[in-house]
Every structure is written in C-alpha cells, then in structure tokens.
Symmetry: D2
Subunit: 363 residues, 4 copies
C-alpha cells in the first residue's frame, strides 16, 4: 500500500477502519506558532458527523478527536500533530452474510483481488468512515490558511436531478444538505423521502471555492495546482468526476466566450476557475465534484460470492441514501490540504527566512 | 518548483521550454530486459507531432528522440533512461510585442506572479511543447504494459459541440482527429474550417481506455488509481475536467441504474469505469477529459501589461485551433504512466522475487 | 517539518513528545497476510525499555503498544497499521529551571532557532523517547523479514574506551549491555559505576548485522542500500558516525588487502560489509554506529539563556549515563526498516505478481 | 530502480553510463533569478576532471556541460534545469575479457544479481563517471548558497596511512590532491608512485566543511540534517564511512570532554560538527568520509565467472590508483545539495512570501 499519505510538505497520513478500535492521523509540516485546540477540529468534524438528520446514516459517532502531540501551551510547535478518534458505535453485528460475497458497486471485489484478505466489517478501510480524519486534518490547514486571508468553503450544487444555483453562503450552514438556496430545501427533503421509499440512492454534485488565494501557487508541470486538486478530490470515496472552473462545459465553448480578459480593474470573468497554466491567478479557485449513488441499498442486486457462485445481495445496516450530503466538509478539507501544501512549497522558493532570534557569533 | 517528476516507482522527470535548445527527460524505474529502441518512441511522437494536417499548428518539428542511457544491446538495463529531443523550429522571431503583457487565458499572468521572471518565447515551460516528452516516456510504459497484456488507447469523443459516438478503433488511426467514427470526419473538417474563418478556437473531449488491466492496481486511500489518473490527466495543458466511467452523469443516476452487478460470467455493465474503491476491477478502465479552447487566437482581446496598463492582445504565430486534436496520444501516455507505476507498486506487495541466477553460498 | 516519515514503500510515520500524552505511529505498506499481534512488538519494546537495570534511566514506562488498525483476525490486511503508546511516567515536575536556557550538547539551541517555540519538557520531540516507535515499527519489519529468511541482530562493540570483540549472539541477550562477550560484562559494570561517581557520561559503538539477505537490494545511484542505511542509522539520536563493513579502516588499506575475492565456494572475506556498488551481495550486511556521550549529566557546564546571558547548567532528572546501552534494539529496528523497504522496491521490478484468485471473465 | 533522484525540494535526477553516449541531469527546484551559465558549472567539473595529473586516470574527458533549459537571459527561471555532458573518450575497446566475470570489489556481482543484465563497458552505471553530474548539479547549489553567505569546501585529510592535518584553504587549490598542507605534497606523491609500482591502490579520507550556515536547517526526526548528509555522502561511489564532527572519536569521550559549552560570545568548541538534534546550530558543519581503495588494479585476484567457474582477474585500463584524490569536489557537491534542499525546506515553514509584484484587484 503506502498510499495513505497526502501532501509533500504539509503531509497527512491516516490509518483506521470502519469497525476497528480507532482512526488515527499524523499531520506533519504545520508551521510553528499556530494557536490550536481540539475544538478547532471538532467544528468541522461535527459538520461531517453522521446521524445529524434523517437524511444521513443513523450510526452514532461522537467523533471526539484527541490531539496527541505537536501542540504545546496551546500552539503548534512545528512537530508532527498526532490525532486520535476512537470508534464507539461499531456494532458487533453478524457479518457472516456479507463476509464471502462481493456487494455490487462496493470495493469488496477489488480489495479481495488486491490483498487476498479483507476486513469486511462495514467496508473496513474502504468505508467513508476514514474521511473523518481528512476533515480533522483539513481543519488544521483551514485554520492556518485563515491566518493568511484564505477561506475555503463548499456547498451542494446538485442532488440527483435537482440543480441548485448558488444563492448565499449563509444558507449553506442552515440546512442538512449544505444547500446554498433556502428555497430549494423542501424540494430536496421531498426527493430524499421519495428515494427512501424506493429503497434507492442517488448521486450529487459538490462545489468548493477558495477565496483570498495569492497568485503563484502550483508547481508545473506535473504538480500543477489543478492536477493536485483533481488528485485530492478524486481520492474522496464515491467521487467519479472533477472539474476546475467551467470544466466539461469548456468543451463546447469557443475561446472568445471562454477566455477571461483582463483590465486594470482585474479579470472580467472566471471561466478558468482561478488557475492558469496550473498556477493560481489570484481569482477564486472553483472546483466541482461528482459523487456516485451510495451502493448500499436494500433493493436486491445480483452478484457472486468469492467462489464464483451467483448470489442476491441486499445491503442492510445504517447507510447514507446520498453520500454527497455529508461530502461538503470533506471536499473543503481536501482543497484546504492542497492549498496548504502548495503555500508551503511556494514559500520554499519565493521567500526569505524570517530571522526572529538573534544568532550567536560563532567560533 | 520541483514539480517536474511524475510517478513513485516508474518516475518520469522532464525539462525543456518551447524555444530553448532541447527537451530532456529521465525515465527511472523501468524493469530490466525490455527490448527498446528510439523507433518505439518515435511512433507515438509522430502521432502527436505538429504540422501533420491543416488543422494543427504549422510549426515543423521532427521530434527526433535520442536515447542517452539505460538501454544496452537493445534492452533496458534497469538503469535510468535519458531522452533528448532537440528543438529545431524555434524561430528567433521578435517577441517584444508580448514580452511585457499577459495574454488572456495563457499562463503569462500566473507565471509572472510566481517567478518574477519568465521565458516569454512561445510560452516557455508553459507551452504544450513539453508534452512531447510525456509521449516519449509514455511509449516506454506502453511497451512494457503490452508485454503484460495491457493496451492503452484513446480517441476524440467530442469536438466543440459535435459529439462523436465510438464506432471503431480502426477509424481512430485513419484521420487527423483521432475520430472513432469515419462518418463524422467531414463534419469535423467543416467545423474546423469555419472556426479558422472566425479566427476562433474551441474545446474538445478525449476518451482514454485501458484494456487487459489486472484487478488490484491502486493504493488507497490517497493514491487510489482513479485519484492518480485524475492527477495525471488534469496535469495536461488545457485540461479542465476529468471523469472516470460515467463521471458527472452519475450525479443524476440512482443506484439501481448505476451499480454494476456481477454474475458468474462477469460484470454486466461498467458504469464505474473499471475502478472500485480506488482499485482496478479487471474491467476496462475508462476516463474522459475536457480541454478548453486554445487561448492563442487572432481575434483581439482585452488585457493589461506588467505595469497594469490596458492593452489589446492579438496572438499571432503558428497555433492549434483546437488543442484537443493532438491531445489523444498525450492522454494515452499519461494513463500508461499511471498504470505502469501502479503495476510496479502492486508487485512490491503481492509478488515474490523471481530468482533467475543461482546465488553463491556465502561466507 | 514533514521529516517524520521514513521509507518509500514501507513507510513509517511517527509523532509524539517525551512528556506529551502519547507516541503514535502509522506503518504503511506492510504486505497482507502477515500474522501480527501487539506481543510481537512488545518483545523488542521491552528490550529497549528504560529502567531495566541500574545502568539506564530510572524512568518507568510500560511502553504498552496498542494496534489500532491494519490487522484483522490476527493477520495484516495490507492497510496501514496504526500504533499507540501512552506515556505514563511523564512527571509533571517543574521545568522552569530549563525553560529559558540551552543545555549544552542538547537540541535546545537548534530547536529554539528553528521553530521559535519548543516543548522543553524532557526535550520534547528531540528526546530519545520517540525511538520507542521506531522499535515498534521495526519489529513489524523484522517479523516479515524473518518469513523471508532474513535476520537482523545487533550488539554493543565498544563502551567508552572498552572494545568488545564479538564472541556469541547468546551472550548478547544475557546482560544489560547487549554485550557479546560474557567475560567483559563485569568490566563494563565497573566502568559504568565509576562514570556515575564521576557524574559523567560516555559514548558507545554498536554493530548491527543482517544475515540471509538476498543479493540485489539497493537502488543506485542515490538510494543505494548503504546510503539508506547511513541515513537510517544517523537519524538515531546521538549517532555521529556510520560505517559499512571495514568503514574508516579502509582508508589505510590497500586494495590487495581490502578486496573480497570470490571462489566457487563463495566470497573469501567480507570487508565490504555485504554491499557492492550500493547493492546487497548476499553476504551478511554489517554496519557500525558511533554514539556520543549523553549530554544530561550533573557536572555543571557553561551555557547561556535565550536572552544571551551566561548561566550554569546542571541536568537533573532520570538520565541514561550511556545512551548507547539501549541503542541496540533501535539500530536493529532501523536496519530492518531499510531492508524491508528495499525488499519491496526490489520486488517491484524483479517480480511477477502472484495471482492467488481466479479473475472473472470481463465484459 | 527509481533511485536516481536526490532531494525533496531541490531535486537532482541523473542518468548515464560510463561508456554510453552522454550523461544527463535535471535539477528541479532552483529559485528563479539566480545568474547562471555553463561556466559556473565548468569550474567544479574541471576540478573533478580525470587526466589532470599523473595520479589519476588518464581517460581524457572534456566534461563540457550544456545547459538545456531553465535559464533565460542569463538567469534561472524557476523551471527545471536540464544538463548534458557528452562522453567523448569511451574507447570502443574489447570488453569480452570482463563481460562474463565478476571483478572483485566491483559492482559486477551485485548488478548481475539485481538486474540479470548489465552494461559491462567500464562499469556502466556503477562507474564513478556519473559523479560528473553530481558535481554539475552541486555547482548550482553552491552558487545559490553563496548568495546566502554559505560556503562549502573540502579537502583530503588522509591518504592511505598518511594523515594530513589542516593547514590552509589556499593550499587545497594548489596541488592535485586537494591537500591542505603544502609540506605534505611531496610525501603524497612519493606514496602514490610507490603504489603504482606495487600495482596496488589505497583508500582515503575526505573532510567537507560548510561555513555561514544559518541555525535551523534539518527536519527531525528522520530527515535530520546529519542523516541526510550521511545519505548523501555514503551514496558516493567507494564511500564506506561517514562522520559528523568528532564521529567515532566520540565513542571513547566523556561528556565533559565532548559537550560544546556556550558563552555569550558563542560556542567554545565544535565537537558536534555544527549539528544538534539533527538541526544546524550555526557553527561550521563538518563531515568526514572514508573511501575504500579503487578495486581496479593490475595485481591478479581470484574470482568467478557468471557460470560459477573460477577465474583470475586483472583489471587493465585507465584507472585511478586512489579514487579519493578526485572525491573532494564530489563530496562538496553532495553537501551543497543537502544544504540547498534543507534551506528550501526550512523556508517553507519559517518564511513569509516576498510579494514582488502588485497583485490585481480580483473579481
């Protein structure tokens, strides 16, 4: 494996399964001197937490995070920050029903072929449960970025067939869907209720925006800011598509429509989503991501067991009928991690060291 | 910077600007024993080469590649492979017209703010000229993958507003557009001629497919196969969106539509694009990418110079009216690099070393 | 920072300070199927543990390790292994005496200048306490290597002025010094007692040996096996020198003395320490490391405080009079981590994937 | 392989064999704005060049380096710097004599077992010829470090049995041995002549010193400055030992001798070699390296061929009777690369971005 670290200078490494004892993360590379407490992380963890509305899984997890290191007298020290979240609601239910079969659209089949063994309890490592640690680590990045005037926020821009035009950031925090239009919330609730009746699930589209980003972040030609964002966002469970700015709409646009002209007052449009040549332009960075429908539904589906025999699969348990609903804080976290990493990388080359302490004359 | 390397075990590092003396690459991590000559690379370089039809830039580059190391008696040795392509048609024209201004939708503005200085001749490092080396390196990966039964191919699936349904791989090689439907070629040519008359450019959509991929490639949770593909494809110049399988179409699908059921005869559909939980499932891997319109057009656009004064920009020179037309071999190369890297990573954990030589008894 | 990860494919990331709540580690890249329990780690942790003889620090730490993830039904799953050790004997003593001054030969001065802030309790992150996690992670590597016939062991080869010729591995486990000659133990004890009376400390030399290593490990030209061993061993607290094979003795040797000739029965000597051209030769790998004297002694020394004023420093507390005494298991762990990483890297290129499960026919 | 890159932010990747067409390197991560020309690199290349005295190999290589990219109008642009050195004196002699056998103390045996194939001409990739590119890349680092007041220099401190106490930097540049004591040069020459008569070779010890290094460089706990130096120096061909400061002499010292006390006027000694807790202290950084005797001698030695049959080996050709004689510029280069990389890493966390250009108001 060794694919559980993210970032080059601001590096997040995580471990932990859905039904194991705990999730754990190490955040390495946070600059010293940042005021930090577990409460800072808890806010975003609570936004992602299951069980907060009838539209998400009913699993009850406090997701209480403990900071194990790297913070002293309320500030980061520059040393790695260890984070721990104990799993508390991993029911010791009987998994014999799914132990030997591959649930369609789940990772069962591919994990089985990769590793030979797999922790089948609640999806093990492939469960979205691991995203709690992404959110915790992302909250550290967000807090640091805020000190630099950078703000990362997201919202749901589409739920199944329902498109949601952006109205206001205030609205986003006032409903269970991260919906930016208060007028749409009832429609979303009705749709979700219908879905539950149909024993089905649906996809969603999330939009994430970073404002206040200085121009210059991104390291062409491979570690471009857009490429690293695509990596980060596509690494979230259930994500199947990523766009920067106009994304796929640019395919049918002509340059005279698409190009963002400049005037002495600034750019006159932002089709590019704030990134030119893989480097931030100073405009807001805008990304969209597509999430597939949750595979865990109670409508029976065809599959096979590990021996190749046909079986019928019904996924019981406590599942999200739309994984997109809780995805907004996760997408924000991943964008924040990318920006944080690139801010540090940019500094490495375009900055002078700030000498804070007089240095001794030397022998 | 230090963003010019790609891959963890099969690592490609490149350098070179559009109008500098040469492009250079080092491909590190190729297994020993692979038959390899510069002709193997030249084939794909020729597919990407400019000036092969009236629909692409008229710059004339032979793109003749020289292998500098890593190959001995016709086979790779396991040592790094150095590659060199001299630039031959970098006209020493007068660049004073664009030296101090920012061409809209180009990387001029962001490079200027990142580095302070920039090589303005033909876009310097931000030019798509560097993709020649991606294609050369990708050809090595393709050749190795072929020995493992893995084939990576691509085609143009949309040009501006014209959608192109897949008909056959034969067609792809028989026209200048990598168009998989021979019946569509005249329509594409007519559209391109119209575009040229309008002094405009347009976007495109490319589809890449890998067949014969064993199940098990991908290293969750961050180095998932889909996340690394997104990184690779989004790092190509002008790309603004990446999809795996159904991509954004999954947003409005229900699980009962989307999920790929299994039977003893195999999967019955491939909405997932061959990747489950970030790991290959053994089905064909399918990715789509969106390219924006080429920013270099002769229709005047508003911009500013480095001092903030308003200017009118007209991009003269030899430019592609649709960068998507030459993007197919580049996208294939990037997908091949990702698969090659993950094949090696997978082997590291799921393989036993093949002992080919009897080892001496030791003291 | 972001310097808290070690290894490319078998990656160990650690966090935790001497007097913080806990030490934590994530071991990423362990192949699936290895039987593993916390007892496997505890054995080596106990060998390193403080307080086991009168010749080491009297701090009492159980160093009880908890496996948080990556192991299911007694076997590794290929997913990252989270490890946790709670600190239990971090006395809440008064640190005001050392808070603002730089103890000579400690890391106080350099940490202060690097980070501006520092956790001064017991040395914080710079304390050798972090090596507990190296030992825990190394024990996983050792267990896997053992399944491949590779055994990593170490011993003390010099304590201060007393050289200790190797006699037997049996002796190493039978005294508090990891001394390979039972006849030397009394001399060592007498020397340590004298040292304590003198309120002084002393350096030591440790030798580590790996047997059963297949030829071929090491990735020239930079990631040579010897270079990575040097990195690993020099990263241990207090280490100031590393040798492979004859090391510095080779300086005054002639080639006719030094070179290891070969016969059909094998190599006739091992001056090279089992590594030729940065790649293992199949002979035993032999490395030596030099540890400086512990800086924490009660004999007063001159120093300055953070304001530049002269002060006299006396380091009280529970300290090792020779850090080398507990260094053997740490050195073994680091050598095991390097070998494990290189075994996986070697496999990536020289192995065929072992297909254990029949793969479905695909659509 | 994929072990041919060095450094995390200032990354050097090289390729090329002893008798192939060329050596090539890509230096990624050099800050923009550094004045640079091929003459800057040529100076150090000439110091390392073979054939400059009768005490080194008589191979004639101009080692003329060409900069292929990353420099525009005489200054670095922040884009990767491509470097090319054509091999000109690779005699097409008959290698059938050594093709199938393993020369003792060479890398033949281990390369054969690692890769199955090997370029046997002049040692292929394992030849010290590759160090030319280390020197070229190191010269870029040295030039940048000089702008920050950091100077890296080295000298020979021992040749075979002859210890050479440091007298002056002036002397180092005035003889073929990098000998810091003019009074010792005749003795060294006499010793070398005797060695040649005896058809033998000998080891050497090199010392490298960096002055003007700011305190704070180094990223514990694994990427400590001393650990990365050990990695860098041990990766040089023929190096078998590395020491920081007093190194192995610290083993038999007591703390009261060893510790470097501080006074308001600075440190009173430098046993630590300028590194405390893996971080630079601001004192001169001092490292020593041990090089083994060159394995290529004309005194016959026993060995075997690839089929296991006993053979007698005599290495003819043009070889250095002491590889240490040309090692000083290589050691300087490697130390410069480490310091450069750590300077950039340090800046990433302890610096504010220097905004040189007014940024536009944004939409």
């Amino acid at each position: 494996m060794s694919g559980n670290s993210f970032g080059k200078l601001f590096t997040v490494t995580t471990a932990g399964e859905s039904h194991g004892p705990a999730l754990v993360a190490i955040v390495d590379g946070c600059p010293p001197g940042l005021p930090l407490s577990s409460e800072d992380l808890q806010q975003d963890l609570d936004r992602r937490k299951p069980g907060t509305s009838r539209h998400t899984t009913q699993r009850q997890e406090e997701d209480a995070v403990e900071i194990l290191s790297g913070v002293f007298e309320g500030k980061t020290t520059g040393c790695p920050i260890g984070l721990l979240i104990r799993n508390t609601d991993q029911k010791s239910k009987d998994y014999s029903a799914i132990k030997d079969l591959f649930r369609p659209s789940h990772a069962d089949y591919s994990y089985h072929h990769k590793y030979g063994v797999r922790d089948y309890r609640g999806g093990g490592r492939s469960s979205a449960r691991e995203t709690a640690m992404r959110v915790a680590a992302g909250a550290i990045a967000k807090k640091y970025l805020a000190t630099q005037g950078i703000k990362v926020r997201g919202y749901m821009s589409q739920l199944g067939p329902i498109e949601i035009p952006f109205q206001s950031w205030e609205s986003v925090g006032q409903n269970a869907f991260f919906c930016p239009d208060p007028a749409k919330v009832l429609e979303l609730e009705a749709y979700m209720d219908e879905l539950r009746r149909d024993q089905d699930s649906v996809g969603a589209k999330i939009t994430v925006v970073a404002e206040g980003v200085l121009p210059g972040l991104g390291e062409p030609i491979f570690d471009r800011l857009d490429a690293d964002l695509a990596h980060a966002l596509m690494s979230i469970n259930a994500v199947k598509g990523v766009e920067i700015g106009d994304g796929f709409a640019a395919v049918s646009q002509r340059c005279t429509q698409y190009r963002d002209e400049l005037t002495p007052e600034g750019f006159v449009s932002n089709h590019a989503g704030g990134i030119l040549g893989g480097i931030s332009s100073g405009q807001p960075i805008v990304a969209h991501l597509a999430l597939k429908p949750t595979p865990s539904i109670t409508t029976p589906g065809r599959s096979i067991d590990v021996h190749g025999n046909p079986v019928e699969v019904v996924t019981k348990g406590r599942h999200d009928p739309c994984v997109g609903i809780r995805a907004t804080p996760i997408a924000e976290a991943m964008m924040a991690l990318v920006l944080m990493d690139h801010l540090l990388r940019h500094r490495a080359q375009n900055a002078e060291v700030r000498v804070t302490t007089p240095v001794l004359p030397q022998l």
